[in-house]
C-alpha cells in the first residue's frame, strides 16, 4: 500500500511540474492563439541560465533563479518581437510552423553551448535527506518545487482574474478587433504573454533541473509532454493546466509503476500521455475545462 502512496506522491510532484510547464504554453495560447512548439526549449534555456548564474558566476541559487526568470522574460519577449510580430494576421498554420522553426533554432543554439551534450546537476542547497511520513518519502527539492509551482499558478490565476493587464489579455484572446476598439494594444499584449510564458518556463526549468538534473533531452521533452496535459485540461484554461498536469503525472507514475516489467512492457510512462491524448482528441477534444468553441467541420 505504501508503494501506491509513493506513486501518488511522485505523481503529484511530476504533475505539478507538468502544470507549471503547461502554464506558459497556456498563457501564449490564451492570448494569441499560437501553439508554441518551442516551449520545451525555453524551459531548457531557463534551467541552463539558472545553472550558469549559480555555478559559473557564483550567485546564490535563489537570486539566480529569480534572475533567470527575468532574463527569459526578456528573451521570450524579444522572440515574439522578432519572429512573431510580423506574422500577426497570417494564417495560423504558418504561425505554428514558425514556432517549429524556432524550436529548431533554439535547439541549435543550445547545442552550441556545453549544455547541449553534457549533463550537469545543481549543487545541493537543501537538506539531502528526504522527508519520510508513513513509508512515503519526498525529497526537499521536490517539496520546494511543488510549493513554488502552486504559488506561481495561484499568482497567475489571480493575475488573469483581477489585474487590468490580465483582463485585457483575456479580452484580446476573446476578440482582437473589439479589444483594439476599446484601446488595448494587441501587439503589447502578445509580447507580454510571451514574456510571462518565458518567466514561467524559467521557473519550470529551474525546478525540473533541481529534481532531475540538467540534461537537454529530458528538459526539452517537457515541451512536448505539455501537449497531452493541455489537451486534457483544455487549451485555454489555467485551472485545466493544473488538473491536467496532475492527472497526467499520476497516470504516468502509475503506468511506469504497475505496467513496466509486466507483459514485456517498458517505459510505458513515456508513451501513456500520448495514447491518452489521442483518445481525448477523439472523444472530448475541448478537454476538461476548455471553452466549447471548437468548430465542427
Amino acid at each position: 500500500m505504501s508503494y501506491f502512496f509513493q506513486l501518488v506522491v511522485s505523481g503529484i510532484v511530476v504533475g505539478s511540474i507538468y502544470a507549471l510547464s503547461a502554464l506558459g504554453f497556456v498563457l501564449i495560447y490564451k492570448s494569441s492563439r499560437v501553439l508554441n512548439i518551442a516551449h520545451g526549449q525555453i524551459i531548457a534555456a531557463g534551467a541552463f541560465i539558472t545553472y550558469a548564474l549559480t555555478v559559473w558566476m557564483g550567485i546564490p541559487i535563489y537570486l539566480s533563479f529569480a534572475m533567470s526568470m527575468v532574463i527569459t522574460f526578456f528573451l521570450a519577449m524579444s522572440v515574439e518581437r522578432i519572429f512573431l510580430r510580423r506574422l500577426i494576421g497570417e494564417p495560423i498554420i504558418s504561425v505554428i510552423m514558425v514556432t517549429i522553426g524556432l524550436m529548431s533554432i533554439l535547439d541549435g543554439l543550445i547545442y552550441l553551448t556545453p549544455f547541449g551534450t553534457e549533463n550537469f546537476s545543481f549543487p545541493p542547497y537543501l537538506p539531502t535527506t528526504p522527508i519520510t511520513v508513513g513509508g512515503v518519502s519526498i525529497s526537499w527539492t521536490q517539496l520546494v518545487g511543488v510549493i513554488i509551482t502552486f504559488t506561481m499558478i495561484a499568482g497567475f490565476s489571480w493575475f488573469f482574474k483581477k489585474s487590468t493587464i490580465g483582463i485585457s489579455m483575456r479580452a484580446v484572446s476573446d476578440d482582437q478587433m473589439a479589444s483594439m476598439a476599446i484601446g488595448i494594444s494587441v501587439p503589447k499584449v502578445f509580447g507580454l504573454a510571451w514574456a510571462m510564458a518565458g518567466l514561467s518556463a524559467a521557473a519550470a526549468g529551474g525546478i525540473i533541473g533541481n529534481i532531475t538534473g540538467l540534461n537537454f533531452d529530458t528538459l526539452h521533452a517537457f515541451g512536448i509532454v505539455v501537449f497531452p496535459v493541455v489537451i486534457l485540461g483544455g487549451l485555454d484554461s489555467i485551472q485545466g493546466a493544473v488538473v491536467g498536469g496532475i492527472i497526467m503525472g499520476l497516470i504516468q507514475q502509475f503506468a511506469s509503476g504497475y505496467l513496466d516489467g509486466n507483459w514485456g512492457l517498458n517505459g510505458t510512462g513515456e508513451v501513456m500521455p500520448y495514447i491518452i491524448l489521442l483518445v481525448i482528441l477523439l472523444f472530448k477534444p475541448h478537454g476538461l475545462f476548455g471553452i466549447h468553441e471548437i468548430e465542427r467541420v
Binding site: F83, E90, S94, L106, F227, E270, Y274, L278
Partner: protein
C-alpha cells in the same frame, strides 16, 4: 487566342477542359520530356562515386515523402509534425517481413515491387487512423495528433523486441531480371527505381489534382464550411488527405529501407519530421514542384553545413559537436526566414523566372 500551342504567350483558355490540361503549351510538354530524358540518361554518360549517388538517391526518397507531406500540409492545409513516423511505418513494414521471414527471403529480394506498394498501403492505413480526429477537429488539434503519433511510434520501436529496440534491421539484396543487384550497382539500380516511382507518383498526383478527388482537398483548405455547403464531407476529406500522405510516406519508407539495406529508428525521429516540414516549406507549400525543390535545397544546405562545420572543426579545437549544433540551427533559420519573407517558397522564384523568360524583353 493563339491557335498555335507553340507560340502561346499567355493563358487564353476558352473552356474548363483547357484550363485543366497538365501542359498548357507544347513547349511545356517538350521541356518536361527532355528533362525526364536527361534524368534517366545522365548516369550513362557520367559515372559518379557511390557516395554522391547515395546523396542523389537520398534526395529522391525525400522527394517522395515530401510529395505526400505537400498533399496533406500544402493542399489540404493540415500540419503534420509526424511525417517521419509515417515514413518509418513504411520502412518497418519491410523490416517486419525481414524479421519474420529472414532478410533474404524471396518475397523480399524478388518481390520488392509489391513490397513497396504494401508498405505504401500500410502507411495509408496508419495515416487515415491518425487523421481520424479530423472528423471532429480543426488543424490545430490535428498537428498535436500527428505529434503524439510520432511519439507513440518512436516508443513502440524503441521498446519492442520485435523491432530490435530500434537497432538496424538488415534488408537483403534485391534481384532484378539480370540476377542479384551487385554492390557497385546498388545505388544506380535504386536511382532508376526511385526515379520511376517519382514519375509515376508525380503524374498521379498531378492528375489527382485535376479531378474532384484532388480539388476537394484545396476546397476544404480554403474554406471548409463552403466546401461542406457544396456537398463535400470536410472531415472525411481530411482523413483521406492523411491517407494519401501516408501512402507516399510509406512508399518512401520502403525505398529508404531497400536503399540503405537496413532500417533503424535513427532515420525516423521528430528531427526528421521537422526536416520534411522544412523541405515542404522551402520548396513551396501547395505546389507540386515545391516537392522537388525543397528536398534538393535542404539536402544541399545540409551538405554545406556539414562541410562548414568540418572546416570550422579543423580550425577551432573546442568545436567538437558543431555539426549537431549547426544543422538544427540552419534548418530553423531556413524555415523561419522562408515563412517570413517568401512564404510561397522556391516554387515562387521558379514562377517569377518563368514569367520573366516568357515576357522578355517586356516587363509585363
Amino acid at each position: 487566342m493563339s491557335s498555335n500551342r507553340w507560340l502561346a504567350t499567355g493563358n487564353y483558355f476558352t473552356s474548363y477542359k483547357e484550363e485543366q490540361r497538365i501542359f498548357t503549351t507544347s513547349l511545356d510538354r517538350s521541356v518536361m520530356g527532355v528533362f525526364l530524358c536527361v534524368l534517366f540518361s545522365w548516369p550513362l554518360f557520367f559515372s559518379i562515386g557511390n557516395k554522391y549517388m547515395l546523396v542523389v538517391d537520398n534526395i529522391l526518397v525525400a522527394v517522395i515523402a515530401v510529395i505526400g507531406l505537400n498533399l496533406v500540409t500544402g493542399f489540404a492545409g493540415l500540419i503534420s509534425i509526424g511525417h517521419a513516423a509515417f515514413v518509418g511505418i513504411g520502412a518497418y513494414t519491410v523490416a517486419s517481413f525481414c524479421r519474420v521471414l529472414g532478410d533474404s527471403h524471396p518475397l523480399i529480394t524478388h518481390g520488392w515491387p509489391p513490397m513497396i506498394v504494401a508498405a505504401g498501403c500500410m502507411g495509408a492505413l496508419f495515416g487515415a487512423v491518425v487523421g481520424l480526429p479530423a472528423l471532429r477537429l480543426k488543424h490545430l488539434y490535428l498537428a498535436i495528433a500527428t505529434l503524439s503519433f510520432q511519439m507513440i511510434f518512436q516508443w513502440t520501436i524503441n521498446f519492442m523486441d520485435f523491432f530490435d529496440q530500434g537497432q538496424t534491421i538488415s534488408v537483403g539484396r534485391v534481384f532484378w531480371v539480370t540476377g542479384e543487384v551487385a554492390r557497385n550497382e546498388h545505388y544506380l539500380f535504386w536511382y532508376y527505381v526511385i526515379l520511376t516511382v517519382i514519375v509515376i507518383l508525380g503524374f498521379g498526383v498531378r492528375n489527382l489534382l485535376r479531378t474532384r478527388y484532388g480539388r476537394c482537398l484545396v476546397a476544404v483548405r480554403d474554406n471548409d464550411r463552403a466546401a461542406d455547403a457544396m456537398g463535400m464531407h470536410p472531415g472525411l476529406v481530411k482523413v483521406y488527405a492523411f491517407g494519401l500522405a501516408g501512402f507516399c510516406a510509406g512508399v518512401a519508407g520502403a525505398l529508404h529501407a531497400y536503399l540503405y539495406r537496413g532500417v533503424g529508428i535513427d532515420s525516423f525521429t521528430l528531427y526528421h519530421s521537422i526536416n520534411y516540414l522544412a523541405m515542404a516549406i522551402v520548396g513551396g507549400l501547395g505546389t507540386l514542384q515545391g516537392a522537388f525543390w525543397g528536398p534538393l535545397a535542404i539536402r544541399v544546405l545540409d551538405l554545406q553545413v556539414e562541410r562548414l562545420s568540418e572546416w570550422a572543426g579543423s580550425h577551432v579545437t573546442a568545436a567538437t559537436n558543431l555539426t549537431t549544433a549547426l544543422r538544427p540551427l540552419s534548418f530553423g533559420l531556413v524555415i523561419v526566414l522562408f515563412l517570413m519573407f517568401e512564404p510561397r517558397g522556391i516554387a515562387n522564384w521558379w514562377r517569377i523566372f518563368k514569367s520573366y523568360v516568357k515576357l522578355w524583353p517586356f516587363r509585363y
